[in-house]
């Protein structure tokens, strides 16, 4: 007697929905992330509109050139992920894996620049800390939470290009799906930064 054990639509799409399980799952997760960052943006709107004076980013010494560079890095990493996904589907395994590593490197680059920025704030005289003002409270909380998301994405890419790469040999389609799903998450992290960058630095 065999028992039905295999979970359906783990790899291929269910016809009516056109989605495999993990892809629907990651979209739902992203919907909840929208609400998470939404609450932070909501706090920013309320605190900013009710403040008597709200500084523009450059007035508080935020480093716009460095942040612009970080924006480029994140956008580039989004491109490398979709290119990796495309290349794995084309069967260009080597190039695909290189592109994954490139994404990981972009993540590192972003975090290093972020660290430099934070370090400059902490060592300024007088130091700019979260407790200094609500502007810096929001700046550190929002970029900090975003940074944690970048870190999470880096762990995923390190896994996919390292120990998780074994799956390509046995179940290539499932592996490609994983790249797609992690890619979706990574684009979302990019998307959040696209809104964080102007609201914190430029406005």
């Amino acid at each position: 007697m065999t028992v039905e054990l295999e979970i359906p639509y783990n790899v291929h799409a269910r016809p009516e929905t056109g989605l495999y399980n993990a892809k629907l799952g990651v979209w739902l997760f992203l919907a909840s992330e929208v609400m998470l960052f939404g609450a932070l943006f909501s706090s920013l709107i309320l605190i900013r509109t009710s403040a008597e004076h709200w500084p523009r980013g450059w007035e508080e010494g935020l480093n716009i050139p460095l942040a612009t560079l970080n924006t480029f890095i994140l956008i580039a990493s989004s491109v490398t992920v979709v290119l990796a996904w495309a290349n794995f589907r084309l069967g260009n395994v080597k190039r695909g894996r290189l592109l994954l590593l490139a994404t990981l490197a972009c993540g590192f680059g972003f975090m290093i620049i972020k660290t430099i920025e934070y370090y400059a704030k902490f060592t300024a005289v007088p130091p700019h800390l979260p407790s200094t003002s609500n502007f810096f409270a929001l700046y550190f909380t929002m970029t900090g939470l975003h940074g944690l998301h970048v870190l999470g994405g880096m762990i995923l890419f390190a896994y996919l290009s390292g120990p998780g790469f074994k799956m390509w040999e046995k179940e290539p389609e499932r592996y490609v799906n994983r790249i797609e799903v992690v890619g979706l998450y990574w684009h979302f992290v990019d998307l959040v930064w696209i809104f964080l960058f102007p609201t914190l630095y430029l406005l």
């Binding site: 295999e6 639509y9 399980n21 799952g25 997760f29 909501s42 309320l46 009710s50 979260p130 609500n134």
Partner: protein, 631 residues
């Protein structure tokens, strides 16, 4: 014309490329099954089977058992509070369990009373009811009812349970924190919560773990219900319970993250010295706080209630789902207005996101915003009434079986009715001015959650106990449990309305003894406290029944209630350890085909093939249905 060439796979004609894929999937599935087959001969070890299990049924049981323990724990905190409220200033030796710092010589201290209150609310809502309603019932039943071999992401499911348990343990550990556990109410309003002792920080970490747990769970439920419905199980053939879980999961998914964000902000306020919730110039105990200021305590209230109002429906919807199943089964009739119930549930879920500020009418909110939230609040009562009316109307003309689960389900209807209707005056800004933060509010939401949701949970436990164990719980003890619970729970909560209308505030350490306006209704405090302790005694038959029946309960066949849904009709009781179904059943009809005219049996399982539908195959199932009727 090479592209037009098609290959037959199964019953479908596909392009060669697609056919190849279909076959690869088929081969993958076959390999997986072989692997699982091997596993059956080399069973998983103790740890993988009983502790770090990925099987939805075992995870459901883990959730259920843990949640019941927390339910009892939360209840016992309330019992201590009731002692204090009934006889303020009196020393009780049982209070000494709280330790010398909280109850020196058996006299409860005010700050300890606050701790009990905050943790009673937190534990009951986040650690007992939601995990029981969603984690336990949802996990165990949803895959069985939709004909799925497991949840869509079994490992995520396991992670969800372990996040929940860690969150619960952090909450428990917070009792040992210096200064005691959280004491700012289950709502943790700043600025008090920001300047409270260290226990609040533990509370926030615990909440973040619990939120993560429900997030993982809700993604899993939604994907499972959308993707893993078996063949023929269309959305309009889902048992109402599954619909309730589906909408509940969306509420958890989209309403919880704002509280997570708010939790992070409050942690920043407490640990990094920010002022998100602290206004400028705040003076605490005569000294001005040296914070940057500019924050807004109302921001927390908005973010908190953005979660906590949908959370109310998270508490009630699964209960309605359970009651619907029990009522349809025990009236031997289809649910009255299944479709309108489903649409009402979806609408209810949607509306629950746009009513939250009716908790904040007294925060200086202007007329425009008040009018908006008051209107949406009145609108949301409509779908609730539709569901409740449909359930009442379902009783009409049924040949009702008054067994224990049905008694609890029947009691749910008027109890939830009282809870719901007393909510209407609270939703109107003018009436709320008088009733806000009085015992009336306490009575209102406890009627919804305690004799409402918890009774539905009891109905569910009595109803699905044979599914889980293959044995029935004792009817005699069950009925004793039911009548004692029904009488005493009303004794606890009904006088609260009277106290509240007289203007007695909630969260008073002495139950209102120091207020002149509370004097006429003060006697009811003793009545409520006695009822609460008698309610505890009323639970003893349940606890005995529960453990006794696991071992010595009456043995039953697979479908002792002659139910139609797949969880009963298409599997054994208890179900297979791995994978639920020998073959995934194919569903042919709606969930409540009871007493169909002209049918041989008074129920037709969702997957049974009858003579009228000549789609072929599976005639055996009718025979088994008939055989079960005869048995």
């Amino acid at each position: 014309m090479a592209e037009k060439r098609q290959v037959r796979v199964g019953r479908e004609w596909l392009a060669p490329r697609d056919a190849e894929k279909a076959l690869r999937e088929a081969i993958r599935v076959q390999k997986e099954q072989e692997r699982h087959h091997q596993l059956e001969h080399h069973p998983l070890g103790f740890w993988r089977t009983y502790v770090f299990s990925t099987d939805h049924k075992w995870i459901g049981l883990q959730y259920g058992f843990t949640a019941l323990c927390f339910l009892l724990f939360g209840f016992s905190l309330m019992l201590l509070m009731r002692l204090q409220l009934g006889w303020p200033g009196h020393a009780f030796s049982i209070m000494k369990v709280l330790g010398e710092t909280r109850a020196p010589g058996g006299n409860l201290l005010p700050e300890a009373y606050n701790q009990l209150g905050a943790m009673h609310g937190t534990i009951m809502v986040f650690l007992a009811i939601v995990p029981l309603a969603v984690g336990a019932f949802g996990n165990y039943l949803v895959p069985l009812q939709i004909g799925a071999p497991d949840m869509a992401f079994p490992k995520l499911n396991m992670a969800s349970y372990w996040c929940y348990l860690s969150g619960g343990l952090v909450m428990l550990a917070s009792f040992a924190a210096p200064g005691g556990t959280a004491q700012s109410g289950w709502t943790s309003y700043p600025p008090l919560s920001v300047i409270a002792s260290q226990g609040q920080t533990w509370w926030l970490f615990g909440m973040i773990l619990l939120i993560t747990s429900s997030l993982l769970g809700s993604v899993n439920f939604i994907v499972t219900i959308i993707q893993l419905r078996t063949k023929g199980m269309t959305f309009m053939r889902l048992p109402f319970f599954v619909w309730a879980q589906f909408v509940t999961s969306f509420l958890l998914l989209l309403a919880f993250p704002p509280l997570e964000a708010a939790g992070v902000l409050q942690l920043m306020d407490r640990l990094a010295g920010t002022s998100f919730f602290l206004p400028s110039g705040l003076v605490v105990s005569g000294t001005r706080l040296m914070n940057a200021g500019g924050g807004n305590p109302l921001l927390w209230q908005h973010l908190f209630w953005f979660l906590a109002h949908p959370e109310v429906y998270v508490l009630i919807l699964p209960a309605m789902g359970i009651v619907a199943e029990v009522i349809a089964n025990n009236t031997r009739k289809p649910l009255w207005g299944y479709k309108s119930m489903v649409f009402a549930t979806v609408f209810l879920g949607f509306m629950s996101f746009v009513v939250w500020a009716h908790h904040m009418f007294l925060t200086g909110m202007g007329t425009a915003i008040s009018a908006f939230f008051q209107t949406t609040t009145m609108i949301i009562s409509i779908p609730s009434v539709i569901i409740l009316s449909s359930l009442f109307l379902s009783l009409w003309g049924g040949s009702i079986r008054f067994n224990t689960p049905m008694l609890f389900a029947l009691a749910f209807l008027p109890m939830f009715g009282i809870g719901g209707l007393t909510g209407l005056p609270l939703g109107l800004a003018a009436a709320d001015i008088h009733l806000h933060d009085t015992y009336y509010v306490i009575g209102h939401f406890h009627y919804v959650v305690a004799p409402g949701t918890i009774f539905a949970m009891f109905a569910g436990i009595y109803y699905w106990f044979p599914k889980i164990t293959g044995r029935k719980m004792s009817e005699r003890l069950g009925k004793l449990h039911f009548w004692m619970s029904l009488i005493f729970i009303n004794g606890v909560f009904f006088p609260m309305f009277i106290q509240g209308l007289a203007g007695v505030s909630r969260r008073l350490y002495d139950g209102g003894a120091q207020y002149a306006h509370a004097q006429p209704v003060l006697k009811t405090n003793v009545f409520m406290s006695v009822s609460a302790w008698l309610l505890l005694i009323g639970q003893v038959p349940f606890i005995i029944n529960f453990f006794k029946s696991i071992k010595w309960g009456e043995l039953v066949d697979s479908n002792p209630w002659q139910a139609t849904t797949l969880d009963w009709a298409a599997t054994t009781s208890p179900p297979l350890a791995h994978g639920n179904f020998e073959h995934l059943p194919v569903v042919r009809r709606g969930p409540y085909e009871y007493s169909v005219p002209g049918s041989e049996t008074d129920f037709i399982p969702q997957h049974a093939v009858t003579g009228e539908e000549p789609q072929g195959g599976g005639g055996m199932l009718v025979q088994s249905a008939v055989a079960q009727k005869e048995a």
